[in-house]
């Protein structure tokens, strides 16, 4: 039984007075790949943002490895090994690509920027450009690369494939799988392309109106046509 790397216990959270997540509990073992699915507006982004310390939490606990990070700030969580790639990318618009990456380094030496360039050669070409001059896909690459450079032990990915060319998507999913296997990295993936997500993950949870509605393995899910129909609203997977 591998060590638990992320544990969520009875978590409720939301924005100001609007509560979005309701009593969510699950745990992810180290090195696991968890896909978080659900239709539009069901709280996937909110869940990841709450884990990253960016929304208001009402109650519940979050544990990272042996540490209780419930009360920790966003920055402290990052230093404890949490990495977050937000859905809206959040590129620093007035920083160059290189500087954007640099922020993600934490304390690592500047030379490791090359790692990012190997993963996304496109970024290297554009490294002196400002964040707001990048194309949508380039921003997506930058956002992902920036977080990965910090070598997180738990990586939260919110729709990382959005806006990327198919060929890049394939490469990226392969790279994520590689990271999870070799780098001892735990990955939570929110993705609309259900098939890609299921191909990647070894566990799946589905959110429905802020609650955890379904949990299991991808194989279970592909058999559970009813769940797919009700929670994901897609008529069968291919």
């Amino acid at each position: 039984m591998p060590a638990i790397s992320l544990e969520v216990d009875n978590l409720s959270a939301g924005y100001g007075p609007t509560r979005v997540l309701e009593s969510i509990s699950f745990s992810v073992p180290a090195g696991a790949r968890l896909a978080v699915l659900g239709r539009n507006g069901m709280g996937k982004t909110t869940l990841l943002a709450t884990l990253a310390g960016q929304t208001r939490r009402y109650h519940g606990h979050i544990r990272l490895g042996d540490l209780d990070v419930t009360a920790a700030s966003s920055a402290a969580r990052a230093h404890k090994g949490l990495g977050y790639v937000p859905q809206t990318r959040c590129i620093f618009p007035t920083l160059t690509v290189e500087e954007n990456l640099f922020v993600g380094l934490k304390a690592r030496p500047k030379t490791v920027l090359e790692e990012a360039y190997v993963m996304f050669p496109r970024l290297k070409e554009r490294r002196r450009n400002l964040g707001n001059q990048l194309s949508g896909g380039e921003q997506q690459m930058l956002s992902t690369a920036r977080t990965i450079l910090g070598r997180p032990s738990v990586l939260l990915l919110d729709e990382p494939l959005e806006g990327l060319a198919p060929v890049i998507c394939e490469e990226l999913m392969a790279a994520f799988a590689e990271l999870a296997k070799s780098g001892d990295m735990t990955i939570l993936l929110v993705e609309q392309r259900i098939q890609s997500a299921l191909d990647f993950a070894d566990q799946v949870v589905i959110l429905e109106r802020g609650r955890l509605a379904w949990a299991g393995t991808p194989t279970d899910l592909s058999k559970d046509h009813e769940a797919v129909e009700t929670f994901l609203g897609v008529g069968g997977l291919h």
Binding site: G53, S74, A75, T94, K106, L130, N132
Partner: protein
């Protein structure tokens, strides 16, 4: 010809004074995105402390300058912690309201504690008197301010553009939540930047006191001047602020020489013209 040189020297000196006094505001306003109308209040606090240290405690000029900078920063720490932290990232107008409020309070307190009269800061012997430039004389103190301006400009530019602190600061300003998610301790970054900005304000208040004398209404009287030069330069850009100060200093000085009665017109028309041509300020970057 001699007159032209003479005006040029005056323009340079005046521009540099403007620069030294307002550059701290470029840090708060351009980098931290806080419309800090209380900048002048901190400059004034610095001036009062230096005046007190030099006059009443009999300390030397250099010691008084350092004491003013340090003490102003110490005074600013609780203000940052309890007031400014509430307005980072708030809408501009909210920031305006808060910092005007702070300015009013500082004025009231200064008036109460130090009295309404003008305060001076006796200069070190070496800075008194005039230096002969050949074609004219210039107060030694002005040369000192020019030097200070250059040193401040270069070191700030380096700190912001070339150090990891600078990158983290700019990142925090662009998107504080994301910077934090990447492990940047934004509160510390902000606190340090704020301290630097306040320290610069105090420093400017002290060395600029020969031109802008210290009195309780200092904080309001020159608020517009600070705001204008910083924005014309493009908030947050050190070279921009420098160019703006020199340019506006030159326009102001020449205007005042040629047609003093239209001095204000020249200055503000120039401001309007510059902003119409460079809507983000001389060196402003796109957001």
């Amino acid at each position: 010809m001699q007159t032209i040189f003479s005006i040029a020297v005056d323009a340079l000196a005046y521009g540099m004074v403007l620069f030294v006094i307002s550059i701290g505001l470029s840090v708060t306003m351009g980098l931290m995105r806080v419309v800090n109308l209380a900048h002048g209040a901190f400059a004034m606090i610095g001036g009062y402390i230096a005046s007190y240290a030099a006059h009443d405690l009999g300390l030397g000029y250099a010691v008084a300058v350092v004491a003013a900078v340090v003490a102003t920063i110490i005074i600013a720490i609780p203000l940052e912690r309890f007031l400014y932290r509430q307005i980072y990232g708030a809408p501009e107008l909210t920031q305006v309201l808060m910092t005007i409020g702070i300015t009013f309070c500082v004025i009231g307190i200064a008036n109460y504690a130090m009295g309404p009269t003008l305060k001076t800061i006796p200069l070190a012997a070496a800075l008194q008197g005039s230096a002969d430039l050949g074609f004219r004389t210039i107060p030694v103190h002005r040369l000192f301010v020019i030097l200070c301006g250059l040193v401040v400009a270069v070191s700030l530019w380096f700190a912001i553009d070339r150090t990891s602190f600078g990158v983290k600061l700019r990142a925090s300003v662009d998107d504080a939540a994301m910077a934090a998610a990447l492990g940047v301790r934004t509160e510390i970054i902000y606190a340090v930047s704020f301290a630097v900005a306040v320290g610069l304000a105090a420093f400017g208040g002290v060395v600029g006191a020969e031109l802008l004398p210290v009195e309780p209404y200092y904080a309001l009287r020159y608020m517009v001047t600070f705001l204008v030069v910083v924005s014309v330069g493009g908030a947050g850009s050190i070279p921009g602020a420098l160019i703006a100060c020199l340019l506006l200093g030159a326009i102001d000085t020449t205007g005042r020489y040629l047609m003093p009665e239209f001095g204000e017109f020249f200055f503000y028309l120039a401001v309007i013209a510059i902003i119409c041509i460079f809507p983000r300020g001389l060196a402003g970057r796109a957001k």
